[in-house]
Symmetry: C2
Subunit: 207 residues, 2 copies
DNA sequence: CCTATACGGTAATATCTAGTTCCGGATCTT
DNA sequence: AAGATCCGGAACTAGATATTACCGTATAGG
């Protein structure tokens, strides 16, 4: 018995894997995913875009589903700014500030990734969880904070269903892009806030 | 010159194609589409489910994309009841009646088909149009009628953005199923009507 | 009855792609 | 310096599937 310890920290021989490249590869995977969808995406495309060899990818992820899962999960950490949403003093101000923030661009990519994996999500619970945590929850969490502050401030009633209010704008945006295939511009977003969200929160549009 | 007429109605020889089977085949295609999505669907699956030969399918549709396009387009005519939405006398009554009607089951299937083709829709404008006409528009049209009646009745203000109001419940439903993967039950639907749609239309929830 | 076509079913063809393996060269540990 | 491992890239393997080609049978028109 030479090295019986299972927790044995053996320094591996030879050149070490360059984990610096992991994020680049995952990012390339997300690009391809957003452009072509899960089934349209090939490992070759991802390798080519990341300027890496296919072998390099398979050394790090055992299969295409694992790569996609990891890529989706890694979007979670991208938007740090959502963890501290704007605090303008009014609910409307906060909501408007959120739609103007630079997170919009990242949101568009998230939506495309989501579109690319929806049909897969129905058959892979793990991917479903990853997608929810990385694509849905961050924005919902930011919304939640804003609404709760408005509630503590007394601006909106304590009866309000915050969870439902949080989902209105994501739902309207996704519907407009996916189903209606119309652009999501600032006017549309302001319209949602003034004509749907605020009334649903018990505030008159003019307030 | 024997038959120079271009509109020449020549009775084709031999056994005639049995077009009775077209709807059955398209219906089988929709089932497979709803279950496995566009990429998961194979021509063999459709032929097997329709108890038809693959050659029979290719005699009628030149390719898989054409078959899917036709199948999606043919969902349009299915829900005749949506063309005459309920008329209970109040906006709330009409909206509640619509979510209780038997169209709900057909809607569920439509949603699954939508999930199966969303990623394809992004790359095929023709399919996008077919999906919109068959899956989105019928319900929007029914909603439109209900809201316009309420407006003529004076129940809601003439300032209301009917197009936006029409899209609220479809957007919330699609978001809940596609993104959140939660069930769409009656309570959820009623909640949308009472807490979002009616307030957005300028009616208090208790009204 | 005869011909041409459709039918359901099976086999063949051609392409695509996930996953593996090999190569020459680079990099790290000993 | 030597051995092990990684790198990007290319070639290879194996399985799946869209599409075509047949087969024996059924049916409509002449």
């Amino acid at each position: 018995m030479t090295q019986a310890d299972p927790a044995d920290t053996k320094p591996p021989l030879g050149r070490r894997r360059d984990h610096t490249r992991d994020p680049e590869i995952l990012d390339a995977a997300l690009d391809v995913l957003a452009e072509t969808g899960y089934d349209g995406m090939t490992i070759d495309m991802v390798a080519a875009r990341a300027k890496a060899g296919k072998a390099t990818l398979y050394r790090r992820w055992s299969s295409k589903p694992e790569l996609v899962l990891d890529a989706v999960a890694c979007m979670k950490s991208k938007d740090i700014d959502l963890s501290s949403p704007p605090d303008t003093g009014t609910l409307r101000g906060d909501l408007v500030a959120m739609v103007t923030s630079p997170t919009i661009q990242e949101s568009e990519r998230k939506l495309k990734v989501m579109v690319g994996i929806v049909s897969m999500i129905a058959r892979d619970p793990e991917l479903a969880v990853a997608a929810r945590e990385a694509l849905i929850e961050p924005r919902a969490a930011a919304n939640r904070i804003v609404f709760r502050r408005a509630m503590e401030r007394g601006e909106i009633s304590a009866d309000c269903d915050v969870e439902m209010l949080c989902t209105i704008s994501p739902a309207m945006i996704a519907h407009r892009v996916l189903m209606l295939r119309q652009p999501v511009d600032r006017d549309f977003m302001i319209g949602i806030i003034d004509r749907i969200v605020l009334p649903a929160a018990g505030l008159s549009p003019a307030a």
